[in-house]
């Protein structure tokens, strides 16, 4: 029972960042909020559905399927958005054009690592880099980050918001840095 109680928080910490990283890589950093919303929506739906109906046989696969569908719905529904996104898609292979959302282990690991580089961009201060890393890559809640910084939610929210704005302005790409 104890393990079942902890399942969703545990999965949030391990899978939220994977889903977000893959979607951000697909959409581009300027649409990071949409990626975060889709990942959050997926977990909200899981929390309610699993509470009502029990935990599915393969919880991770369940999360990935819902996240993929949610992402596809989003792209379908917002035609204007899709035009903007397809124009700016970082990857141009035909799979992406057909809106295949690749949640394979390789793409997850690559996306997470590339996100790490993007988030730790020198254009934003270290405390913003750490905050964004905790939020996006480690699945921490805003309150937990505030506690870690001995700060409050408002300050952290503002800090993360500003950092994302800055990274957008810098047109940060989700990619591996060139070998030096």
């Amino acid at each position: 029972m104890q393990t079942r109680q902890q399942l969703i928080p545990h999965l949030f910490r391990t899978e939220y960042s994977k889903i977000t990283a893959v979607l951000v890589k697909l959409f581009g950093f300027e649409h990071i909020e949409i990626a975060e919303d889709i990942a959050s929506d997926t977990f909200l739906l899981a929390a309610e559905t699993w509470g009502m109906k029990g935990v599915p046989e393969n919880p991770v696969a369940w999360l990935y399927t819902v996240a993929k569908n949610r992402a596809k719905d989003h792209l379908k529904r917002h035609k204007i958005f899709i035009e903007k996104v397809t124009a700016g898609l970082q990857r141009t292979d035909p799979e992406v054009r057909e809106m295949e959302i690749d949640l394979s282990e390789k793409n997850i690991v690559d996306s997470q690592l590339q996100m790490m580089f993007a988030i730790c961009h020198p254009a934003i201060p270290p405390e913003a880099q750490i905050g964004l890393s905790l939020r996006i890559l480690c699945g921490f809640g805003i309150e937990e980050i505030a506690d870690a910084f001995l700060s409050n939610k408002e300050t952290i929210n503002k800090r993360l918001f500003r950092a994302k704005e800055k990274l957008r302005k810098e047109r940060v790409k989700i990619e591996f840095p060139a070998p030096t």
Binding site: L44, E48, G51, R77, G141
Partner: protein
């Protein structure tokens, strides 16, 4: 005993950025509530949670995308309970976690075919 359909409606959430603990605080009350109805042997059908997307079909081939455009509240899920009276079904509905998330529960009697 009569069957009642419990329909959960709620407004689309404005800020869906839950922390892991908040997620657990959503799951637990649903488990407890469903569990307590089942323990009283009043759960006729565990129902379903409905997906966000969908469509509405109207006469003359009019199909609108999803239920969200025109409604303030979205039907989010349902279960069927079996109780001695509407009053009893209402008592069960009062414990529904959707009430703590800005939602409401509609309780409707189901017309029996084998009276």
């Amino acid at each position: 005993m009569k069957e009642f359909l419990l329909l959960f409606r709620s407004a689309p959430s404005g800020d869906p950025k839950p922390s892991p603990e908040q997620l657990q605080n959503i799951t637990k009350p649903w488990q407890d509530w469903m569990g307590s109805i089942a323990a009283q042997n009043k759960l006729a059908n565990p129902g379903n949670r409905l997906d966000f997307d969908g469509a509405t079909v109207r006469p003359q081939n009019v199909v609108t995308d999803g239920p969200y455009a025109e409604v303030k509240e979205i039907l989010g899920g349902y279960i069927v309970v079996k109780t001695g009276s509407l009053k009893e079904a209402i008592e069960l509905a009062k414990g529904c976690p959707i009430l703590n998330m800005g939602g409401n529960v509609e309780v409707r009697g189901i017309v029996e075919m084998n009276a």
